[in-house]
Assembly symmetry: C2
C-alpha cells in the first residue's frame, strides 16, 4: 500500500534494558473507572442523539476471571444497531500472539480492561464508526492501546477532516508526534489486503504505549526499519500518568469527533440505491473483522463472549458477485478518493 504522506514517521527505540516506568498503586482502578465512565458518557449522549431508543445492558462474568457490561441499541432512529462494551478480565497468562510483542510478560498473571464501540447508522450518509481503548498489566510491564476510525458509505471530505482534526487536537495536547504516527498506523491496520482497500477514512490507532518512547510497532517494513533509526528524547521518558492522560484525551475526543457528523447528515434523504450500496459496503466491515481484526479473532479462538465480540457485525449485510461502481458515480468516488490513505487534516477541495 502507499501512504498519503511522505512525511517520515518518528520511531523511538527504548534504551536497551530500560524498565517500564513505575505504576501508581491504584492504576487498575483508575483506568477501569475512566473506561466505565467513558462508556456511560458515550451511551448517554448517543441515546439522546438517537431520540427513539436507548442502550440495553447485559452484565456478564467470565469463568476464568473478570467480566463486563455489554450495551446494545437496536432499531434506533439514527442507529440501526450500536454496541458499546466494557470489559475487565484477568488470568494466568497472556496468549502467545501478545507475548511475541511483550516477552517480559511471559510467565506472569495479567490484567486487561477495555472499552470498544461500533455504531451502524441507518442512513447511508452517516458513517459507521469504531472506537477501542484498552489497558494491560502483566508482571513487569503495562501498556495502553486503542484508537478510533470512521467508515463512510457516501462520504463528505469535511466529515473526514473534522474527525481527524478532532483526534489530532487530542493527541497534540500531549505531543506533536503522536497524531501523525497513530494516523499512519491506523491506515496500515484497517486495510483489507484481499480487496486492496482501506476500511474507511481511518483515524488513529496505537498499541504497546508504555512511556518508553516507542511510538510505532506496526506491520509496515519501512516502519520497522525506521524503528531503530529515530528517537525523540522527551517522549522516551513519559510516566504512566502521561500515557494515561493521552488515552483519556483520545477517548474524550470521540463524541466531539463523531456526533456533529451524525447530526449534520441525519436528515439527508436517501433511497434504495444508497441503502443497497450501504448494505454491500457493510460486507467489507464483516470481512475485515472476521479475517483480519486481531481482537475479534483472538476473542473467538479463546473462549471470549461471542455475542459481545460479534456485536461489531452489522445488522443487515449484502454480498454481490463482481460488483463494480459506475464510472464517475458517488460510489466510484468512495473507492477512488476515500478508501485510500489521505492527509485529511490538511484536505482542501483542490487537493
Amino acid at each position: 500500500m502507499t501512504l498519503a504522506s511522505d512525511r517520515p514517521v518518528l520511531h523511538l527505540t527504548p534504551l536497551p534494558g530500560s524498565p517500564t516506568p513505575s505504576l501508581p498503586a491504584d492504576s487498575r482502578q483508575r483506568v477501569s473507572q475512566f473506561l466505565q465512565g467513558l462508556q456511560d458518557q458515550i451511551c448517554k449522549v448517543l441515546a439522546e442523539l438517537d431520540g427513539a431508543k436507548s442502550f440495553q445492558e447485559d452484565a456478564w462474568q467470565r469463568e476464568e476471571g473478570g467480566g463486563g457490561r455489554s450495551r446494545v441499541m437496536k432499531d434506533g432512529a439514527i442507529f440501526e444497531q450500536g454496541g458499546v462494551n466494557f470489559s475487565e478480565v484477568w488470568g494466568t497468562h497472556l496468549p502467545p500472539s501478545i507475548l511475541v510483542q511483550r516477552p517480559e510478560a511471559a510467565g506472569h498473571r495479567f490484567y486487561a480492561t477495555g472499552v470498544s464501540l461500533v455504531l451502524h447508522p441507518r442512513s447511508p450518509y452517516i458513517p459507521t464508526v469504531h472506537l477501542n481503548y484498552r489497558y494491560f498489566e502483566a508482571g513487569p510491564v503495562w501498556w495502553f492501546g486503542g484508537g478510533a476510525d470512521l467508515t463512510p458509505y457516501y462520504p463528505f471530505a469535511e466529515d473526514a477532516t473534522h474527525f481527524h482534526r478532532t483526534l489530532q487536537q487530542a493527541c497534540n495536547s500531549h505531543h506533536s508526534e503522536y497524531y501523525p504516527t497513530f494516523k499512519r498506523w491506523c491506515d496500515e491496520y484497517f486495510y483489507l489486503k484481499h480487496r486492496q482497500e482501506a476500511r474507511g477514512v481511518g483515524g488513529i490507532f496505537f498499541d504497546y504505549q508504555d512511556g518508553r518512547g516507542e511510538l510505532y510497532r506496526g506491520p509496515d517494513p519501512q516502519g520497522a526499519a525506521a524503528l531503530h533509526s529515530a528517537q525523540v528524547g522527551d517522549l522516551a521518558q513519559r510516566s504512566w500518568d502521561d500515557v494515561f492522560e493521552l488515552v483519556q484525551s483520545c477517548g474524550q475526543a470521540f463524541l466531539p469527533a463523531y456526533v456533529p457528523i451524525a447530526q449534520r447528515r441525519q436528515a439527508l434523504p436517501y433511497d434504495d440505491r444508497h441503502r443497497n450500496f450501504q448494505l454491500y459496503r457493510r460486507g467489507r466491515y464483516v470481512e475485515f473483522n472476521l479475517v483480519y481484526d486481531r481482537g475479534t479473532i483472538f476473542g473467538l479462538q479463546t473462549n471470549g463472549r461471542t455475542e459481545s465480540i460479534l456485536m461489531s457485525l452489522p445488522p443487515l449485510v449484502r454480498w454481490e458477485y463482481n460488483y463494480q461502481p459506475e464510472p464517475d458515480s458517488p460510489e466510484a468516488k468512495l473507492y477512488e478518493i476515500f478508501l485510500k490513505p489521505q492527509d485529511w487534516v490538511n484536505w482542501t477541495a483542490d487537493t
Copy 2:
C-alpha cells in the same frame, strides 16, 4: 465436541517409506476433464431446476499460472445466488500450511485443480449446500480431497437422511470404510467452535487421499491417536485410478443427493419469520467461511481471485445480538437436533 456414533473410525498408517502409487501419464488431463464436465453437468441441471435464470461465466487467468471459470446465478426462482467454480492452477511451491501435511512436496512445483460450489436458495425450506473436489500433484506426491455438506434452516430429517444415504452409496461402491470415516471428518471440520454448533447436518469430507490407506487426517486428537492403531490391508494398496474413481462417484452423487430435496421443498409457503431466521442463520455461514475455512483464508491471503473465493458468501445476511430461539419452536429444533452430529443414515423418528 461429541460425535454421534461410538463406532470406532478406522485409521490406516502407510508403511514407512511407502511411495505414493504411480500416476498415469495423463492424470492431470483426466482429472481436469472430469471436473469441468462435473461443473457443466451441475450448472445445466441446476439451471433447468431453477427455470428462471442460468449461470453466467467469467473466465479468468492467474498471473502465476493457470486460471479458471467462475459461474454465478443471481436472483433465480429457486436460487437466490449460486456459484459453481472450476480452477486449474500451477506454480513453483505449495504454501507451508499444505507442506506440513505433505513434506515430500517441498521444493517441487505443484499442480492443483478443483471444483467448488455453494448454493443459497431463496426458500428457508431448501438447505444451502456446498461441494468441493480437488486434486494436487507436487513432486513425488499426489492426492485428492473434497466433500459435500448440507446446511438447512427449517430442516427435515428425511432430507438429511437422503443426502447422507446418497453419499454413503457412492462411497460404499468403493469400500465400506470410506463413508463412516469421511462423515465423521465432515462433522469435525464444519464446526463453529465459538458457537459450539455444527454448520449444518454435514455430509462427507476428506483430504490427502493418495491410495496409501490413510483415510483420516483430521483434527480430532482421538482420531490422531487411533491413526497408528488400525489398518485395513486392502485399502492400503489402492491405485491412482481407484482413488480417482471414488472421487468421481462422490462428485456424481451430488445432483441425486441434493436436487430431490430442492424439488420437494420449493413449493412450501413461508413468511417473514422464516425468512428472518434464514438470514440470521446465513450469518453462521459467513462466520465459518471467513474464520475457519482453510480454502477461503488461504485464497484471500495468497492473492487468489477474491470475487470467486467470496462467491460462497450469501447475498443477504442478518446479525442479531443475543438471539435465542423460543423454546419448543421449529428454530429451537434446528439447534437441538440438527446442529449436532447425528447418525443420519440410520435416523428414524424414534431415534
